[in-house]
């Protein structure tokens, strides 16, 4: 296929700022034939459907059997008392209606997990977005040299294995010989027992999460910033607008769609907190780092209360939906 060289150009146009829909048809494409103008496909529709069915069947089968079916089953499971005994003999599981949900509402452990997760999402999420934006602004500045190098360094944590870096950070946070406390000590600040103090364990986990994730959003912000028309800044500069004014009145509004996208994916990701507490604190101290997913894992795979754990999973799902809708709404009401 050496004669076909259009794909790279297509990609370049495809890779515009995130605001531009990729699927926009390229009107200039000479190869695109308009079916509405007397053109008839050589492939009859029935044959196309047969081929398409054959093409999409494997993926639909996998996604249907190992995602859609389990999600539906989770809803059903959450209405049963499926437990360790049912695992041995599923016949012993009974339909209990909303009992699991009612029990959840009265379970202090669940409320604790919910509070911890909310803390992580509400503090960690915006912090992560702010750091991402800051890094993107630094990297994207006209004055910045070696942009690729900075981008690569900032991005490196994103591709690392979470479990491995959680092991490293647990060590950095060590109260006795951790480097963080020793660095704080060097500037005269008394150290903290980061992972041993219930008040500090979640902030410590947020620190790791922000470090690990900010590079991803940074890349999206860099693309968004590249899409802001340079003339806007030039005009504002002529009008005497300072750095802050340009940022507030040009960058922020121009990036609005990027903010929405980044906000939603970050929130969704942060709601799923699990491996950090699993590796660093095992949910402690005093259950201060038990997240909703961690609780689901414990109830489901440690105590084998699969019915109860499914109810936990569905509450998580509902919360994420509400969070997403709120962000969409906020975005729409913005000027």
């Amino acid at each position: 296929m050496s004669t076909v060289t259009h794909t790279d150009e297509d990609l370049a146009t495809t890779l515009g700022p995130p605001a531009a829909p990729v699927s926009a048809p390229r009107r200039t494409d000479p190869g695109r034939t308009d079916p509405g103008r007397g053109w008839r496909p050589s492939l009859p529709e029935s044959a196309a459907s047969r081929a398409a069915l054959f093409f999409i069947a494997p993926s639909l089968l996998v996604i249907g059997a190992f995602f859609f079916l389990p999600v539906a089953a989770a809803l059903a499971l959450s209405l049963t008392d499926f437990d360790l005994y049912a695992l041995a003999d599923p016949g012993t599981a009974r339909f209990v209606g909303l009992k699991n949900y009612v029990e959840l509402a009265g379970d202090p452990d669940f409320w604790q997990a919910l509070r911890n997760t909310a803390y992580f999402v509400v503090v960690g999420g915006p912090l992560s977005v702010a750091v991402s934006l800051g890094a993107a602004l630094l990297v994207s500045s006209k004055l910045t040299r070696w942009k690729g190098l900075w981008r690569t360094v900032f991005f490196a944590p994103v591709v690392t294995t979470l479990v491995a870096v959680a092991v490293v950070w647990r060590y950095l946070y060590n109260a006795e010989y951790g480097l963080l406390n020793s660095a704080l000590g060097a500037v005269g600040i008394e150290g903290v027992d980061w992972l041993g103090d219930p008040a500090w364990a979640m902030p410590a986990i947020i620190g790791l999460a922000v470090w690990k994730n900010f590079g991803y959003n940074m890349i999206i912000f860099v693309a968004g910033l590249a899409g802001v028309p340079e003339e806007l800044y030039e005009a504002a500069e002529l009008d005497g607008a300072g750095w802050w004014a340009r940022f507030r009145h040009i960058t922020v509004p121009e990036l609005a769609p990027t903010f929405l996208f980044v906000g939603v994916i970050t929130m969704i990701g942060y709601f799923q907190l699990f491996a950090e507490p699993y590796v660093m604190t095992e949910g402690g101290p005093l259950r201060a780092t038990v997240s909703v997913v961690y609780l689901m894992y414990e109830e489901g795979f440690k105590w084998w209360n699969l019915g109860y754990a499914s109810a936990v999973a569905f509450v998580l799902f509902a919360l994420m939906m509400v969070g997403t809708l709120i962000q969409l709404r906020l975005q729409r009401s913005d000027p």
Binding site: P157, Y171, Y177
Partner: protein
């Protein structure tokens, strides 16, 4: 502000940011080379007094790290190859073959992207148990054999393939599969490389599902093995750091070699459909 001063401040901030970002990774490597116990002295040393690879040797000799490395490589490679084939078939069909209900089906798939994977995990475990796939490589690979994100990525890219090319092949008598295999796939190569990279790293770094479905430590992938090791050997810091290096280094190297493609994946996926 003076332009020269602004440039200096900017690069100062970048330098501090980069140092803070890189530090945990550099330090992980440094501590992994320290003799046993040195990393737990006060004040913590930044560099090993006498670099040693004893912990790496111990990892492979005593902690079965070679086995876990192989497991991870095997699982990630299998997931990548299988899902690339299955997702590209579907992505191509959604972009280029007309069939009834296509748009509605695709929209339904996209909408399902908001469902967190954890919701499916409890019944999925029961399902895997019924299929006899718990504690097997297949138990990790099969649920990852297709992904909505992968289909979406391929479709976005496949939309740019000109219909005339496919028509020409049809007129020449090629079957639909031949057209996909011989005409579309070569054109999709850039996005296939990108998706392969994404999938490989995602699978390599995946933790929760392998933790659930793999019960026998012979089959553990690196993250699961490392997490288990951490709980057993809390005190042996240098050893754990070596384990962290072995787990992270392969993906870091792959990323550094192919970062263009990886970043392209973020951009392609980062665009709302």
């Amino acid at each position: 502000m003076n332009r020269r001063l602004a440039t200096t401040l900017l690069h100062g901030a970048l330098l501090v940011g980069a140092a803070l970002t890189a530090f945990p990774l550099l330090w992980m490597v440094s501590a992994s080379l320290m003799p046993t116990g040195e990393a737990s002295t006060f004040p913590p040393p930044l560099l090993p007094s006498a670099p040693t690879v004893e912990h790496y040797l111990a990892l492979f000799a005593r902690a079965d790290m070679g086995r876990y490395l192989l497991n991870s490589a095997l699982v990630a490679t299998a997931v990548t190859l299988v899902s690339l084939f299955i997702n590209s078939l579907a992505g191509y069909a959604f972009a280029k073959l007309r069939f009834r209900g296509r748009e509605r089906l695709f929209k339904a798939l996209l909408a399902a992207l908001v469902i967190p994977a954890q919701v499916a995990m409890l019944p999925l475990f029961l399902e895997m148990r019924a299929l006899g796939l718990v504690n097997s490589y297949a138990g990790v690979i099969v649920p990852a054999a297709a992904s909505i994100f992968g289909i979406f990525l391929i479709r976005q890219f496949a939309l740019s393939i000109p219909d005339s090319l496919l028509e020409a092949a049809r007129i020449d008598g090629a079957t639909e599969f031949e057209i996909y295999w011989r005409v579309a796939l070569p054109l999709l190569r850039p996005v296939l490389v990108t998706l392969a990279l994404f999938t490989f790293m995602g699978s390599w770094n995946d933790f929760m599902w392998p933790l659930i479905v793999l019960t026998d430590d012979d089959l553990y992938t690196l993250p699961v093995a490392l997490a288990t090791l951490t709980r057993e050997r809390v005190q042996d810091n240098e050893f754990m750091m070596a384990g962290a290096v072995v787990t992270t280094l392969p993906v870091l190297v792959v990323f550094l070699a192919l970062q263009r493609q990886y970043v392209r994946g973020i951009m392609l996926g980062g665009v709302k459909g």
